[in-house]
């Protein structure tokens, strides 16, 4: 599991980020954001490398990564699909919509499709209750989605 070394390309990418932001433990969250942006996720080797560069314990980095739901330690798909399960969406078919998306992608909530195309999440409200049920793909919002439209919507994303 842990205690693997990084390939030198990845460590160079992290070095460049830390160079820009300064090797300051107070900047840990910003650094982790930037590293995740660039590499896509934060596996334990990456967390250990960041910890080493900032002179803090690996556990301190892992504490932060595991606390904030934004950070992920597993690779994510190219597109993130979020299906709203807030009250309004739920009563207007949000659950069936979620099942349809899950079936289409072949992965459960919090997981990524085998072809790395989609990662599936739920959200509790996107503030568009009048348009429920709602799902988002990346920054795009889809309203009043019926399960039958899922295949057509997701086909737009490679």
């Amino acid at each position: 599991m842990a205690v693997q070394t990084l390939c030198c390309e990845t460590s160079n990418q992290i070095d460049a980020i830390i160079e820009r932001r300064g090797a300051d433990p107070d900047s840990l969250i910003e650094i982790l954001h930037a590293v995740q942006e660039e590499i896509g996720y934060l596996p334990c080797e990456v967390q250990e490398y960041v910890a080493d560069r900032l002179g803090i314990a690996p556990g301190a980095v892992e504490g932060v990564v595991s606390f904030y739901s934004f950070f992920t330690t597993v690779p994510r798909g190219r597109h993130t699909v979020k299906v709203c399960q807030g009250t309004a969406c739920y009563v207007r078919g949000g659950k069936r919509l979620l099942e349809a998306v899950s079936k289409h992608c072949g992965c459960g909530v919090g997981e990524t499709s085998a072809d790395m195309r989609f990662s599936l999440d739920v959200v509790r409200c996107v503030g568009a209750c009048g348009l429920s049920p709602v799902m988002t793909v990346g920054d795009d919002v889809y309203e009043r989605v019926k399960p039958t439209r899922v295949a057509e919507i997701l086909a737009k994303y490679e």
Binding site: A2, V3, C44, A57, P58, G59, A60, E62, G63
Partner: protein, 582 residues
């Protein structure tokens, strides 16, 4: 320090500026129940048990972190406080396992006593314990996360006191769990086995790996010859675990209790502490006179040894090659003593009574079998010994005192002070001075190396050498000192390092609770025990002179090297892995 006047429960209280409300209340003799607060550690404000009402504050505030202000009005007994505190404790109990009778901390658990103090008879909310598995992968420390109350004392201990930072909290809310980074089992993780986390854990979430069952089995087997050794710091702390006040010297009662348990011979690790002084002292003289690697670092503390193996592998050549007194004893019991007594070492079991959990790891090191067998078979902490004494109903306080057996039972005042920070240094200086100069050291109490200061220094004129010595206890203090050594600073000849605060008397296997006051009481008892002994210099111990005459030859002889000296293992900084040179 400027003074601040506040009122607590209508009573005017003078506090020092910068104090917390809790400290001010404690100074005024007003009790506020706490859980995550520990006097050795920075306050966390994590558990909310110490909530108080402060006039002008919208919500209740944790008294352990809230600072006093002039004119502040605090209420610790208001209905709001009382109800909130009960709710907080009930919530802590809501997902806590309730099989207290089968817990290692039954009777010493702070959550249990808090529930008792508050008279909790009903827990209104009930949740399932998280269902984490018990981690018994380590030789020393067992972790049961379901019993954890997330107080963070262990994390702070590992980080602030020991600078190991091997523990962290992962996740959030109900899913939070304390453990080693990246979920490594403790046996594979970065851990020095010091057990300081156990000493500060309020519940049974962290305990030692018990050898009690194995020791009973050996004692109750008529074909097994059982030999026991007792570390210096046990005799000034064992009484605490058996209902006595801290600071009582109970050597004679401890020996009597061990005989009553059925050990065939009751010996003393103090004997091999004296032997350590001979070997380590001659090693130092050898290094100084032949241009060897300096400073020489002591090697008695297995938590410290694991620390340097992980964090400063480049400094391993500085570490004395001497085994710790525990391991010297094991190697000699199964050779020298077995031979003298006509006992088959294959049928012998050597048990150690140690203030230490790291000794369990040390005894299990693969290289510790120079007698041809595992040199030390089982290690009991002071707490485990107290448990065994209670189990068979020995009335410790009225026990008639008894003396150690020969030939591994005779020791000096120089050996007993091994149990306190600075003691090994003082004992070594007593002998080195006299061996090098051939003169009697007039005042053998070397006060510069005593006391609870984190890093101590002393310069002693030994013949024409101005010997520079340093002492550190607690690994965060050791790290400071080592960083200086690594930079080539200090010009030291000899450095003593003990992993635990106060030295072995504050070890991870000692009775719970621990605090600076308790450790100072134990230290005072150690130095009293030194003054009480007729011989106070290791080289004057007749049994030590005899073992060199009859068996070892001289210090650093070939036989000594074989049985009493060892090698170390460089490890990585990330996990319990042997480092491979690239």
């Amino acid at each position: 320090m400027s003074q601040v006047n506040i009122t607590i429960n209508g009573q005017t209280v003078a506090a020092e500026a910068g104090m917390t409300v809790l400290q001010a209340a404690q100074a005024a003799g007003i009790r506020i129940p706490t859980l995550c607060y520990h006097p050795d550690l920075p306050a966390q404000g994590a558990c909310r048990v110490c909530l108080v009402e402060i006039e002008g504050e919208r919500v209740l505030q944790p008294s352990c972190t809230f600072k006093v202000r002039e004119g502040m009005c605090v209420h610790t007994r208001s209905p709001r406080v009382r109800k909130a505190r009960r709710t907080v404790v009930e919530l802590l109990l809501s997902d806590h396992p309730s099989d207290c009778t089968a817990c290692a901390r039954n009777g010493t658990c702070e959550l249990q006593s808090l529930a008792e103090e508050l008279g909790i008879r009903e827990v209104r909310v009930k949740a399932e314990p998280p269902g984490h598995e018990v981690d018994d992968s380590s030789f020393s420390v067992i972790r049961d996360p379901d019993k954890c109350v997330l107080c963070r004392r262990c994390i702070e201990t590992c980080t602030v006191i020991q600078s190991v930072s091997g523990l962290r909290i992962k996740g959030r809310g109900y899913d939070s769990v304390v453990g080693a980074a990246f979920d490594l089992p403790l046996g594979s993780a970065l851990c020095v086995n010091c057990g300081q986390c156990i000493n500060r854990c309020p519940t049974g979430a962290l305990t030692e790996k018990s050898h009690i069952g194995a020791v009973w089995a050996a004692l109750e087997d008529p074909d097994t010859f059982t030999v026991v050794q007792t570390a210096p710091a046990v005799r000034v702390a064992l009484g605490e675990a058996l209902g006595m006040d801290p600071g009582k010297i109970v050597t004679g009662k401890m020996v009597a209790a061990l005989r009553a348990l059925g050990f065939d011979r009751v010996f003393d690790t103090d004997f091999t502490a004296d032997l350590t002084i001979m070997e380590e002292g001659y090693e130092l003289i050898h290094r100084v006179t032949t241009g060897g690697v300096l400073p020489q670092l002591t090697s008695c503390s297995p938590g410290w040894i694991k620390f340097i193996e992980h964090f400063y592998p480049d400094l391993l050549p500085n570490v004395s090659s001497c085994k710790s007194p525990q391991q010297m004893f094991g190697a000699l019991a199964k050779t020298y003593f077995a031979q003298e007594a006509g006992v088959d070492p294959a049928k012998m079991r050597v048990v150690s009574i140690m203030p230490c959990t790291a000794k369990k790891f040390e005894a299990a090191r693969p290289e510790m079998n120079d007698s041809g067998y595992q040199d030390v078979d089982y290690v009991l902490t002071t707490r485990e010994l107290a448990q065994m004494i209670r189990e068979i109903g020995i009335d410790f306080e009225t026990l008639e005192e008894s003396g150690f057996d020969d030939p591994l039972g005779q020791s000096t005042g120089a050996a007993v002070i091994f149990g306190a920070t600075g003691g090994v240094m003082e004992a070594a200086l007593r002998t080195a001075y006299e061996v090098i100069t051939n003169e009697k050291l007039e005042d053998i109490d070397i006060h510069a190396v005593r006391g609870m200061q984190g890093v101590k220094e002393a310069t002693v004129q030994v013949g024409n050498l101005e010997l520079k010595a340093a002492v550190a206890h607690g690994l965060a203090n050791a790290r400071q000192l080592l960083d200086r050594v690594a930079r080539g600073e200090g010009g030291y000849h000899f450095i003593e390092i003990m992993a635990c605060p106060g030295g072995c008397l504050g070890g991870g296997g000692q009775p719970i609770p621990t605090s600076m006051e308790i450790r100072k009481s134990r230290a005072a008892a150690i130095y009293q025990a030194d003054r009480d002994l007729p011989i106070r210099r290791s080289h004057e111990n007749p049994s030590i002179q005899a073992i060199y005459e009859k068996f070892l030859g001289k210090p650093l002889s070939e036989k000594s090297h074989h049985l009493l000296h060892t090698k170390y293992t460089p490890r990585t900084r990330r996990a319990n892995q042997v480092a491979t040179r690239e």
